[in-house]
């Protein structure tokens, strides 16, 4: 356990989590809270370990929906941002449209997607993508625009074609912003997936929560919620790992490299 001895941060996280779980368990026992109101962590753990196949399958389904939605959001988000930055007309058209549609509560669109796309995986992926795309478009657009004008002049002075300016200057320059947007986007995609499963579904952790509520099976609902938070956290850190791997040059990564 190398990280345990090396990472002060890691130790703190583990300590805080254990403390919270302990207090939760203690409160349940001391005040005799009924299980269907707030199940003690022990019963949630028992629930998960008794049905590993069931939870494994439901989790994988939700992860699949989230990942698909997120991937679509990245493709469309970065593509839209490039279109917005490349053309004044598209800028006025799309950016205004985006801002306007961003103020629509997208969860409210979930039932419409079910009408359009049926009750399979597609509407869930669509909702996840729709919610996740906004922070990605907006951050990417800002990143693509935030280029030193001298850098663009440098390219122009060498008579570089426009796509060079985009691919060799603007896009790499925007990567930190794209990752910032993606970090918000990945959490949003998970929310979208759950909303999709709430609205129409027979699989996934959202569906598990909904059905256990109907039967007052609180340990099962809590098991799903805890798995969701674990999934969300892992996805966030995967994003951060990718960032570290792709952007060794960025300011936020330099101190770590210099310390080595």
């Amino acid at each position: 356990m190398k990280w345990w001895t090396q990472s002060e941060y890691g130790r703190t996280v583990v300590f805080v989590l254990l403390l919270m779980v302990g207090l939760w368990e203690l409160a349940d026992r001391m005040f005799g809270i009924r299980t269907f109101l707030l199940p003690p962590p022990s019963s949630v753990a028992v629930e998960i370990f008794n049905n590993p196949g069931f939870y494994g399958y439901q989790s994988l389904y939700t992860i699949y929906i989230t990942a698909m939605g997120f991937a679509l959001a990245i493709i469309f988000g970065v593509g839209l941002a490039i279109a917005i930055v490349s053309s004044k007309l598209l800028d006025r058209l799309l950016y205004t449209l985006l801002i306007a549609s961003n103020s629509v509560p997208k969860v409210a669109l979930a039932p419409i997607f079910v009408i359009w796309l049926g009750t399979g995986g597609e509407p869930k992926v669509a909702i996840a993508a729709l919610i996740a795309v906004f922070p990605i478009v907006i951050n990417t657009t800002l990143g693509l625009r935030a280029v030193d004008p001298d850098m663009v002049d440098l390219a122009r002075s060498a008579r570089a074609p426009n796509h060079h300016v985009m691919l060799k200057i603007r896009l790499p320059n925007a990567l930190p912003s794209i990752f910032a947007g993606a970090k918000v986007g990945i959490s949003f995609a998970l929310i979208g997936a759950i909303v999709g499963e709430f609205v129409a579904g027979e699989r996934g952790l959202g569906y598990v929560i909904l059905t256990s509520q109907a039967t007052f099976n609180s340990p099962r609902a809590f098991a799903a919620i805890i798995l969701l938070s674990v999934i969300g956290t892992i996805m966030f850190f995967i994003d951060e790992l990718c960032e570290r791997w792709l952007l060794p040059w960025h300011v936020s990564q330099r101190s770590a490299k210099a310390a080595r």
Binding site: D148, D150, D153, L154, S157, A158, P161
Partner: protein, 276 residues
């Protein structure tokens, strides 16, 4: 000492009357449109630069010297008048030209060598054909051990040297430098001045160097163009007859002092600096 006053009407010819000028700036005016009252940045600027000549432009901030450079580079349109580079009307950045900016604008995500080769990529040339030249240039400029380092691992002086190598890698005939050493400390600046003078002496590129340092301008140039502001215009063009190559010690000679004090007096008479 030969010096002539260039009023807005007279044409300031290149030093050598025999060869045709490489850069010809003819009665150029430039204004920025701010609604009803357009701001005049350059008024009737006329300047010829001979091939292989080193011109310094010195002037206070706001005199339009950077704007003039950007117009010659074809990065900004002129409002009236015309600019010719190598007998071609400048409407877009001319070929065979490179710029060095005040800030090095190196790309953070590229190594020093890749930053230098960026120009090669921009021009649609093959990297392979220029790798040896880029490495050799960087080595000459003392960056041989830093080819595969990132810009943030370099000092300010090293970064600006890399930026100069980036401009030189495609071997431009015309080099435009916009206060390239303005952000450096005095010692690094002296080093880079000496290196630039040697570079120019060896390659005889046509060089336009913008600065607000009078000493730097005189040390480097064949002719110093003194600009005034409100509106931006050429106040005077001064020939610098100091033999080359010039060691840094020429700055201690009385001849050098005469040139710099003349320019300082000129600025004082223009109301740019207060005279004691």
């Amino acid at each position: 000492m030969r010096s002539k006053r260039a009023s807005s009407e007279t044409v300031a010819d290149g030093r050598s009357a025999t060869s045709t000028p490489y850069v010809r700036v003819s009665a150029v005016s430039k204004s920025y449109d701010h609604g009803d009252n357009p701001a005049l940045v350059l008024r009737d600027v006329t300047l010829n630069i001979a091939p292989g000549e080193f011109i310094s432009i010195v002037g206070p901030s706001g005199c339009g010297k950077s704007t003039l450079l950007k117009c010659i580079a074809g990065l900004q349109p002129v409002t009236s008048g015309r600019i010719m580079v190598k007998d071609e009307h400048v409407l877009a950045p001319p070929d065979n030209m490179a710029i060095v900016f005040q800030r090095d604008v190196l790309l953070d995500w590229r190594t020093v060598l890749d930053n230098v080769l960026l120009m090669v990529e921009f021009k649609g040339l093959k990297r392979r054909d220029y790798e040896a030249r880029a490495t050799q240039l960087l080595t000459t400029y003392g960056l041989g051990d830093f080819l595969h380092r990132y810009p943030w691992e370099l000092s300010g002086g090293m970064r600006q040297r890399a930026a100069i190598c980036r401009a030189l890698v495609v071997d431009p005939e015309l080099l435009l430098m916009d206060e390239p050493f303005g952000a450096l400390d005095a010692m690094t600046r002296d080093d880079l001045n000496v290196e630039l003078e040697r570079l120019w002496y060896a390659t005889r590129k046509t060089l336009l160097f913008i600065t607000h340092g009078i000493d730097e301008a005189v040390y480097l140039a064949d002719r110093v163009v003194v600009m005034a502001r409100n509106p931006g215009r050429i106040a005077e063009i001064i020939d610098i007859d100091i033999p080359r190559p010039r060691p840094l010690s020429v700055r201690q000679t009385p001849q050098f002092g005469k040139y710099t004090s003349e320019i300082r007096r000129l600025f004082a008479s223009l109301g740019v600096v207060r005279s004691e």
